[in-house]
């Protein structure tokens, strides 16, 4: 709504306006508090955590909790910090994101520009994959991974994420390509352009925004996944979410909250950075994910 300011300010008195800002500021405090508390706690030592307030700034920038969280904190019997889990997540997310994006682009291209009889129905059936509770696939999928010899491997996790993300990436590209004018494609076809030529020369150059949305959306989903990670990974292939959960739930004698908080920030950092740098694409993914069809 972009009514001119004078209209609104006359209707909305200044007291009301103050109230609006007050509520918004309160919400800012609510949303930022956990991040703030995590950050300041990660720089305190155990004694400082006990003696100072939750909100108090740390005495100094003590990075030791961070280095412990990264390379020497114990998760169960191993004491290598989050580092191996972090690189497992990278090794899992990068191929899974790329494959599912390319796959989604091809499917979306066909489903919007090369429709065939029944393609809409098939797509509708595929769409249920976006909503289905993955609990239903856990038990059979672990059997399948076993049969393929991919149990407890990163390759197995990549496969699962590609399959689980397929419906979503196809949906994104299909809806985006539906907006490409039919005339453009038809004219190219008249000129004898082939299926692949149309894709490479016409469709792909128009795709940058949706490719960004899909890459970011898939990366966020796959990096943040816990369910597949905890069920399908083995000792050598646990992703960072599982590492963090194990670390935070390890029942050692003294709880090192500073290390837990540093670890949580490390686990959340990649998606946070992307969110700050490319928030617009992230939000577009969110809204596109909610409004189907």
């Amino acid at each position: 709504m972009t009514a001119n300011p004078s209209v609104s300010s006359s209707v909305f008195p200044s007291v009301g306006r103050m109230l609006v800002y007050a509520v918004l500021a309160l919400a800012v405090a609510f949303f930022l508090l956990p991040l703030y508390a995590m950050l300041v706690t990660s720089f305190k030592d155990a004694e400082e955590i006990r003696s100072t307030s939750l909100l108090a700034l740390p005495g100094g920038l003590d990075w030791s909790a961070w280095s412990t969280a990264w390379s020497s904190a114990c998760t169960g019997v191993d004491c290598n910090g989050l580092r191996p889990f972090f690189w497992n997540s990278v090794a899992m997310a990068v191929p899974a994101v790329l494959i599912s994006t390319v796959w989604g682009a091809l499917n979306g291209y066909v489903l919007s520009l090369w429709k065939f009889r029944g393609s809409d129905t098939l797509f509708g059936l595929l769409l249920f994959g976006v909503f289905m509770p993955f609990q239903v696939v856990l038990l059979p999928m672990s059997q399948v991974l076993g049969m393929l010899g991919l149990s407890s491997s990163i390759t197995g996790l990549v496969l699962v994420h590609c399959l689980a993300g397929l419906a979503g990436t196809t949906l994104f590209f299909r809806n985006y390509y539906a907006a490409i004018p039919k005339e453009l494609v038809n004219a190219a076809r008249m000129d004898g352009a082939s299926f692949w030529q149309i894709f490479w020369r016409i469709v792909l150059p128009l795709s940058t925004p949706i490719v960004m949305v899909t890459l970011i959306w898939q990366f966020t989903n796959i990096w943040n996944d816990f369910l597949f990670g905890v069920v399908f990974s083995g000792t050598e292939s646990k992703p960072i979410t599982v590492g963090l959960n194990n670390l935070a739930n390890t029942s050692s004698s003294v709880k090192a909250y500073n290390v837990d908080m540093a670890a949580a920030i490390i686990a959340g950092l990649p998606t946070m950075v992307i969110y700050v740098l490319a928030g617009k694409f992230f939000v577009r993914g969110l809204t596109a994910g909610a409004v189907k069809g």
């Binding site: 909305f12 059936l125 249920f128 038990l139 935070a248 908080m261 686990a267």
Partner: protein, 292 residues
């Protein structure tokens, strides 16, 4: 020759997606269904036992606790996120200075993993530390906040952390909806002398109904599937007081060696989501023909 290849090519390109996608979605769904009718315990076996696993499931206290928690969590999480989301969206719509920065702040939890969120809130809600200590430092020396370890109240901790995670998402959707409303209707109402709150209540919010339904749908299915947050925040405890169907399914299948029972609980989750989503998907796909 080339022509017939060209007509087949598009179908050939999507064939793997549909074959693998359907095998993953529907094939495994059926397979899970078969397991739920089997006597499987530690390992899958295919000895047919009919509805025995379902009877066992519905006779378990723990399953009922999980369902009750899902009810509390679902209502609190979805309701709380919707209310806070609408409120923030309407307020942000008042040509607020620094709107972009505020939106970024409200939405950032959505970029984080529920495991990260759960770990952070576990620290804040920790009795003796976190909020309790903060309030005591502020002079409320007898302040107590022990929800996280209280069998009755722990599930509300999950609700709080869930709302924190998702309210910004609801806000983003509602804000997008608000921006899509035709200005002229609002201007006309203003000319007629209607107050701004009244315009929102009578005109703007009713116009947001489709957005409301989409948001409700997405949040509800997230609530039913919710797993990570509970695992990170309470791990289902104390005892199994904060179990939800998703954590129940996980525990039975992967640590209790009750695969048949786990499969049956997964089928119940599927049925719930399907009952919610299929009518929605059907109407969405129906209402908008796709040759736009």
């Amino acid at each position: 020759m080339k022509n017939s290849f060209e007509t087949w090519l598009p179908k050939l390109v999507v064939a793997p997606a549909f074959v693998l996608g359907f095998a993953f979605i529907y094939g495994l769904m059926v397979w899970n269904g078969v397991l739920s009718f089997s006597a499987s315990r530690m390992l899958p076996n295919y000895e047919w036992v009919g509805l025995a696993q379902y009877e066992k499931l519905w006779a378990m206290d723990r399953w009922w606790v999980a369902l009750k928690n899902l009810g509390i969590f679902g209502v609190g999480y979805v309701g709380g996120s919707l209310i806070i989301g609408v409120l923030l969206a309407v307020l942000l719509d008042q040509r607020i200075r620094a709107e972009g920065a505020l939106r970024t702040i409200y939405l950032y939890p959505m970029a984080l993993s529920f495991v990260v969120t759960g770990t952070a809130w576990k620290w804040l809600l920790n009795p003796g530390m976190g909020f309790e200590k903060l309030m005591r430092d502020w002079g409320f020396t007898h302040f107590e906040f022990g929800w996280l370890v209280d069998t009755e109240m722990a599930i509300y901790c999950v609700v709080i952390a869930g709302i924190w995670q998702s309210a910004g998402f609801a806000m983003a959707l509602f804000l997008a909806g608000l921006r899509g409303i035709d200005d002229s209707i609002i201007k006309a109402a203003q000319v007629d002398g209607a107050s701004l709150p009244r315009i929102y209540w009578r005109i703007v919010l009713p116009a947001l109904r489709p957005v409301f339904f989409s948001t409700l749908m997405v949040l509800s299915h997230l609530a039913i599937k919710s797993f990570d947050l509970v695992m990170a925040l309470t791990a289902g405890g104390p005892g199994f007081a904060t179990d939800v169907p998703a954590t129940f399914m996980y525990t039975m299948s992967f640590s209790r060696g009750q695969i048949g029972l786990g499969a049956a609980s997964a089928t119940m989750m599927l049925a719930t989501v399907a009952a919610l989503v299929i009518p929605y998907l059907y109407s969405e796909l129906r209402s908008k023909p796709h040759d736009r």
